[in-house]
């Protein structure tokens, strides 16, 4: 057997550190015992109970819905911001925007959440809108803080983009708008997709901000999980997490397979 080098050892240590907790959780999702931490017999009963728990399923659905729409809104707003940050001439407005946009990244979530809650309360008092806090307010809150992340991701890409490619499009007769749609957007699409997934997972993950801006009607998954922890974690949560991990892994595998196939095909063209 090959000698275990330091870098190899570190690799394995890292892998264990990252993936063993997940593996343990998946194993425990098949635990027949009622106690989360004590192994009983192998059973899939928690999966069954999971699908009977309407409240939990509702919160999963709400979370997914919010994450999905927040991601789109964030990508839209973030891309516009990034475009202003990288393509506009230096001005007071641009300077303010590009320095302030990173604020949500460094601001403690508690403060962001609290300030947003105060805003929504004040708005409903003065304008009567939003009438009550719920899915809508969480969506708005998530869109804004995710937009900051998208702006950072997309602006990096825009900055390293060869400006002469956009100039070439203008030179060939495309208006600035057409250039943006047909040239700039396709070129930054990888970062848009990355920004979308980042926003999606940030929104799905968020507990603090959602707790502040949510109302009685809307309970997201992290809120449900967190509140159930106080009563002792139900093994149902393990089952739910196992499903989510497997879904994500499958998606990642699919993407990897598709991109490898595309690469192979392109190499074939090159050879021929």
């Amino acid at each position: 057997m090959k000698k275990l080098s330091f870098s190899n050892a570190m690799l394995w240590f890292g892998m264990v550190f990252l993936y063993v907790p997940m593996l343990i959780m998946i194993i425990y999702s098949f635990n027949g015992s009622k106690l989360v931490t004590v192994w009983g017999v192998f059973s899939v009963k928690w999966y069954g109970e999971l699908f009977d728990d309407q409240q939990l399923l509702d919160s999963v659905f709400i979370s997914l819905k919010i994450a999905f729409f927040s991601a789109f809104t964030a990508v839209f707003l973030g891309t516009l911001t990034a475009f202003v940050m990288t393509r506009f001439k230096a001005s007071f407005g641009k300077f303010t925007l590009s320095t302030m946009v990173t604020a949500p990244l460094v601001m403690p979530e508690v403060i962001t959440g609290l300030s947003l809650m105060l805003l929504f309360v004040a708005m409903s008092d003065m304008l009567g809108w939003p009438a009550e806090r719920g899915v809508l307010t969480i969506w708005i809150a998530h869109s804004t803080f995710c937009a900051a992340y998208v702006a950072v991701v997309v602006s990096t890409r825009l900055r390293e983009l060869d400006r002469s490619i956009e100039e070439a499009a203008l030179d060939l007769g495309a208006t600035p708008f057409k250039t943006f749609i047909f040239i700039t957007l396709p070129m930054i699409s990888p970062s848009l997709i990355a920004g979308w997934f980042l926003s999606f997972s940030l929104s799905l993950d968020d507990l603090v901000i959602a707790s502040f801006v949510s109302g009685p009607g809307a309970t997201t998954l992290p809120m449900t999980v967190f509140s159930s922890v106080r009563l002792g974690v139900s093994p149902k949560i393990n089952a739910l997490a196992a499903i989510m991990i497997m879904t994500v892994s499958l998606l990642a595998l699919l993407f990897w397979y598709l991109s490898r196939r595309k690469e192979k095909r392109e190499r074939m063209i090159q050879v021929s």
């Binding site: 060869d162 002469s164 100039e167 070439a168 203008l170 060939l172 600035p176 063209i269």
Partner: protein
């Protein structure tokens, strides 16, 4: 890419050269630049440039970095708006026209091909913007692909092409809309030296076949001289001299231009005799006087001038010449053997080291070597007198 396309261009260019001669008989002005200035803050990138460029001409803007040549090209493309001055293309004022409305296309230094589009789609892009019918677009794209010999690569993406192929695509894309003016930004900048020489001739051949007027920017004097009919030398935002490659090489206006284009030996000298048909100058610490077979145009009071002689116009010989003027004795200080020719660095009487090229016509012979005592001579017409 078989050998047959390499043959054809030669025949075609022969025809085109003839055509051009007839065109040159009555040159028609296409582009007129009138007193254009461009300031970036306090820095004047382009300072009061006026130029006219004729139809069918290949015109080079030659200069070092920061000379303002690229800014001038970007002004022509419409990416920069001049602070002062006007630009007319075919009689139309285009000074403030948006880049996407100008009948001018540009080939970028980095080629700027659209990475997510195939070769075909790249070429088609400009035509699509004109709302041209699909049938016609396909026809022009095929025509362009044939022009640059890239038919076999139509479906490829830019990252699947070599440097030379990318350049061909970029050229085809900028020619597809049949622009009135073609701009080339450092056209060979991204290619290696071998490919560069080949592409220079090929690009010129294509441009001449299409018959488009062309303005190019380069810092490479060899490239400018190979490719263009006329060259403008830029320095600090100004055009310091305009002329044919021969004019600029053989009759530079100033010492700077003489040094910028090729190598040159400069002698700080004093005019002894200034006649209508000749000048005699004396260089400090050199025994022989130098005879220049042409009068000096300006009759300035200042007797101090620079005498510029190109290295290839000087002849090395071992025997002492029986001449009154135009020779110096020296010792070989260093030799740079370049294969086709050797550059001799010769230390002369006044301790100055001058360059002298010797073409190696025979395979094996014994040329002067290090430390040899030799004599340099040149003809009366070899030197150019430049004012200080």
């Amino acid at each position: 890419m078989g050998p047959e396309w390499k043959m054809n261009p030669l025949n075609n260019s022969q025809i085109d050269i003839e055509e051009e001669i007839t065109q040159e008989a009555a040159p028609k002005m296409l582009l007129e630049i009138k007193g254009v200035c461009k300031k970036f803050g306090d820095v004047k990138a382009v300072d009061d440039v006026s130029l006219t460029i004729n139809k069918g001409e290949i015109f080079s803007l030659l200069g070092g970095s920061g000379s303002g040549k690229s800014t001038l090209l970007r002004i022509l493309a419409g990416f920069e708006i001049p602070t002062e001055g006007e630009i007319f293309l075919d009689g139309v004022d285009i000074t403030n026209m948006e880049p996407y409305k100008r009948p001018i296309n540009m080939m970028f230094q980095s080629y700027a091909l659209f990475p997510h589009m195939t070769v075909e789609q790249n070429i088609e892009f400009g035509l699509k913007q004109d709302k041209m019918a699909k049938v016609e677009r396909t026809k022009i794209v095929a025509e362009m692909l044939k022009l640059v010999h890239m038919e076999a690569f139509a479906k490829r993406k830019p990252d699947q092409l070599s440097g030379g192929q990318r350049q061909r695509v970029a050229l085809a894309r900028s020619l597809a809309k049949k622009p009135k003016l073609l701009l080339l930004d450092e056209p060979m900048g991204a290619l290696d030296k071998q490919l560069r020489t080949q592409m220079q001739l090929e690009v010129v051949e294509i441009i001449e076949r299409v018959g488009v007027t062309c303005v190019m920017v380069t810092h490479d004097q060899e490239e400018a001289m190979t490719m263009s009919n006329r060259i403008a030398i830029m320095k600090n935002g100004n055009i310091v001299q305009t002329g044919s490659p021969t004019d600029i090489y053989e009759s530079p206006k100033t010492r700077d231009i003489a040094q910028f284009i090729g190598s040159v030996n400069l002698f700080e000298s004093e005019i002894i005799a200034d006649e209508v048909d000749h000048v005699i100058v004396k260089v400090e610490n050199i025994s022989q006087q130098f005879y220049i077979g042409q009068g000096v145009t300006t009759s300035a009071e200042d007797k101090r001038v620079w005498l510029a002689i190109r290295p290839e116009k000087m002849v090395i010989r071992r025997e002492k010449p029986d001449l009154k003027y135009n020779w110096i004795e020296g010792i070989v200080d260093d030799i740079a053997y370049l294969g086709g020719l050797s550059i001799y660095y010769i230390k002369i009487e006044n301790e100055q080291i001058i360059q002298c090229t010797l073409s190696n016509r025979r395979r094996r012979y014994e040329p002067p070597t290090w430390g040899d005592n030799i004599f340099i001579t040149w003809e009366a017409t070899a030197g150019v007198v430049l004012r200080l």
